[in-house]
Structures are given as C-alpha cells and as structure tokens.
C-alpha cells in the first residue's frame, strides 16, 4: 500500500475553509444556545403549567434523540414548516442550536437551583422584583457554577458539528470526506481530518481544564 500525502497540501485551502465553517458553526451555536438555554430553563420553572410542560417535553425530546436525526429532521421538515428554503449551513445551525439549547437549559436549571432560596429572598426583602433578584443575584452566582459545564459542552459541540456534514454543510468533516471520495486517498484524508480536529480541539480542551480548575471547586 502506498500513500500520497501530497493530497493534503493540495487540499490545504479547502480544508482551511472547512475548518473555518466548523469554527463558525460552533461559535454561532453556542452564542445562540446559551441565552436560549436560559430562557428554556426559566420556562420550565414557569408557574403556567402548559408552558413548563411544553418546555420539559422539548428538552426531554432533544436529550433522547440522536443529533443526526435532528439534523435530518431540520433538513426535510424545516422548509415544509416555514415555506422557505434554508441553506445547508443555516439548517445545520438550527439543528445544533435546537439540540444544544436543551442541554444548556439543563445546565442552567441545575445551576440556578444550586443557589439557595435565601439569596433570592434577600433581594426580594430589599424590594427587588423577582426578575431583578434573578438577574442581579441568582444569575451571576449560577454563572460561575455552570461555566465549567458549558466549557465541556463546547468541546463536545465542536466535535458534534461534524454530524451536519450529512446534509452537505461545507464544514471540515464534509470537506475532507468530499476530497476523500474524489481522490480515493482515504487513509490520508482521514488522518488529516483527525489531525486538524485534534489541533483545533486540544487547545480548547486545555482551556476547559483551566476553567474547571479556576471555577470548578470554589463555592
């Protein structure tokens, strides 16, 4: 068996493009799924039963269905539901946001619940509204507790973006697999793909470790 590693150098531009798409997907997903996660966490605590039931159903569905199914679902159902054609990138983004919002809402819910009720009461006793007490007292404290978990979610998400390659989003995985099937350089391209994911992912994992050390244990 002979290898032709030059294919990697020839494809460097395309791979770089793919990597950028992967990074963009990760960042945009998180930027949307963090605030949405807070919103869903709050909806689950709503006093209105139908609202909390709906939010719970959404979270439980997303947590127990494979992401790849959500990706396909978004690809086929989204255009029917909305009547608009979505680009593959946007479709992939919607699927990842749907999935990540559910996970983040669970993260925030446990973070919010870990703050003693007395803290909110101290705010209420000063005359704050429930909303003010949540924003000024609960959220800033919950934030420190959820940050390590969000960081771990981030690294998982970075790798899971590869699942949107099934609907031809031009991310790193899709780009590399395309080149593989055109050049028949299977081993070379898979190796390159692994190397690039690792090169990008390793520093992120190190940052996550650092966040865990900094915020993980303190009260």
């Amino acid at each position: 068996m002979t290898f032709d590693w030059s294919i990697i150098w020839q494809s460097m531009g395309a791979l770089w493009q793919g990597a950028l798409v992967t990074i963009a997907l990760t960042v945009l997903t998180m930027v949307l799924a963090v605030p949405l996660g807070i919103v869903v966490a709050l909806l689950r605590e709503s006093r209105l039963k139908p609202v909390s039931a709906l939010a719970t159903a959404y979270v439980e569905l997303m947590r127990n269905v494979p992401i790849i199914l959500v990706v396909y679902w978004a690809f086929y159902v989204l255009p029917i539901l909305t009547g608009v054609g979505f680009s593959p990138f946007l479709t992939g983004l919607v699927a990842l946001v749907l999935n990540n919002t559910a996970y983040n809402s669970e993260t925030f819910r446990s973070g919010i619940r870990s703050i003693r009720k007395g803290q909110t009461e101290a705010g209420l006793a000063l005359g704050m509204s429930e909303g003010e007490a949540f924003r000024k007292i609960v959220l800033p404290q919950a934030w420190r507790r959820v940050l390590p978990i969000l960081a771990t979610t981030w690294v998982t998400l970075f790798k899971d973006t590869s699942l949107v390659s099934v609907i031809a989003v031009g991310d790193l995985a899709h780009t590399a697999l395309q080149i593989r099937s055109q050049s028949f350089r299977v081993i070379e391209m898979l190796t390159a793909m692994a190397a690039i994911y690792w090169l990008l992912g390793y520093p992120q994992a190190k940052i996550v470790d650092w966040i865990h050390r900094k915020y993980g244990v303190t009260e």
Partner: protein
C-alpha cells in the same frame, strides 16, 4: 421607650401603630404553623419574639413582608394591608429591612457592593450616591476598613453587620430580625447585638426573633412569647422574665436556663 414618647408630637396619646397582625393563620397542609396571631407594633418600639423552635416566630416575621403568604388573616403596614400575592408587596418591602439568620450576603459582591445593590437597583440611586450612602453605613457598623472584602473573607459577626447595613441602605421604617445571632460564634454575638442596640436607641422600630434573653430583657419594649403557633403571653420584659404568668413561658425560660 421614654425617649420615643418624648419625641411624640403634643396631643398624641399613643405612638401610632406601624404593623398590625389580625388573626394571622398559616397552614402547611394539615400542619398549623400560625393559629391566629393578633399583635400591634408601634412606631419606635422594639418587639422581641421568643419561644421554642418551631413555634411559628419566623413564619410570622416572613408574613410581615410577604415572603410567606398567609392562609388567612391580615397584616397591615402603616395602614395598608399586605397583598395575598407576594409579588405585589414590593413597595412595602422597600420600607421594611430584613436580617436573616444566615446573613444571605451576596457572595459575588464586596461588602460595599452588597450595601449599594438595593439603593441602585430598587431606588435608582446613582453609583456615586449609593457609594456615599454605603460608606456611611459601613462606618456606622464599624467596618469601614472591610469595604472591599468579599463575604467569604469576613467573620460571621462582620457579615451580619454588613447585612444590617445592607438593609439600612434602603432607609427602612421598620427592621425585621430573624435570629440574627443564632449562626454566630459566641465571641462575635456581642458586636452584632451592640449594633442592634444602637439602632434601637436611635428610635428604629424593630421586630426581633431571638434566643438572646439578655438582649430581649435590656432592649425590648415589648416581649411576645410564642408556643405552637400562638401568642401565649406578652408584656413588658420585666413582667415576662421576672413574673411570667403562664406555665408555657416558665417552661420555656427554665429550658433556656433563665433564672431572672
């Protein structure tokens, strides 16, 4: 008390009632935590609530500013009835400070930041004005040099003094204390009681749940004894501590080792 009476305008017969409890009842399922409490707190008065643990003292205090909803009955603050909907009692809460057994300082804010939070969020004070007010209050509780400390770096007694300053920053007309020294090391109890004593001397209206009988005896104008969700006896401290009228009060005091 005499000071307070002396400050009253000519012609008044009695200091005005600030808080009035009318047949306040609270049930948790089958369990009766408050079984019909009637009580009046007058302006400038220090009222101490004493009694065995679980007798409903905290529940009554929390009904006072609407942190707890009553099952039935009424609480009036300055003539206004508290709403059954706890969210509607914001304006009343602004005028009542509350101090908790576990301090409940905000751990993500410095001592100064804790005190500035209420005035800035609720009263809309500028940062500069809130800071001036907070610094004056920290000085008042003797903690000026701890302004930039986070709660984690303060002793229990210091935390509770900051918590008192935080409540005072809203310039309340009434202060509610729920066992403010019960979570403290014995050596820091005195500094908190001193701050409370000075507050009382300044004429603040105070409702204090406490097990510190010496404090109740020396500072209270009126002592209320609770048992099983009811008031079993009330009166001047001398009367309650030296000549208790009910066995419930006598049992409670002897249980605490109080010998007059």
């Amino acid at each position: 008390m005499t000071d307070t009476l002396a400050k009253l305008p000519q012609g008044s017969t009695l200091p005005d009632v600030v808080i009035e409890y009318r047949d306040v009842r609270k049930q948790y399922g089958e369990f009766v935590a408050l079984a019909g409490v009637n009580l009046e707190v007058r302006r400038g008065q220090v009222v101490c609530l004493i009694g065995p643990s679980g007798s409903g003292k905290s529940t009554l205090l929390r009904c006072t500013n609407g942190l707890e909803t009553m099952s039935s009955g009424e609480v009036y603050f300055d003539g206004m009835p508290l709403s059954k909907d706890p969210r509607k009692n914001r304006l009343i809460r602004q005028r009542m400070g509350m101090v908790f057994q576990n301090f409940e300082l905000f751990p993500h804010k410095t001592a100064l930041g804790n005190i500035m939070m209420g005035p800035m969020t609720v009263l809309g004070l500028s940062e500069e004005k809130a800071r001036t007010r907070a610094e004056a209050l920290l000085a008042k509780v003797g903690l000026s040099e701890k302004a930039s400390n986070y709660p984690a770096n303060l002793s229990g007694g210091q935390q509770q003094r900051v918590a008192i300053a935080r409540a005072l920053a809203m310039e309340p007309e009434v202060m509610l204390f729920d066992e403010p020294t019960s979570a403290l090391d014995p050596e820091t109890i005195g500094e908190v009681l001193n701050v409370m004593k000075r507050l009382a001397d300044d004429g603040m209206t105070m409702v204090v749940v406490t097990h510190e009988m010496t404090f109740a005896r020396r500072v209270a104008d009126h002592v209320v004894v609770f048992a099983n969700g009811q008031i079993v006896e009330q009166g001047r401290p001398e009367q309650i501590f030296d000549a208790p009228q009910t066995t419930r009060t006598r049992d409670f005091l002897s249980h605490l080792g109080w010998d007059g």
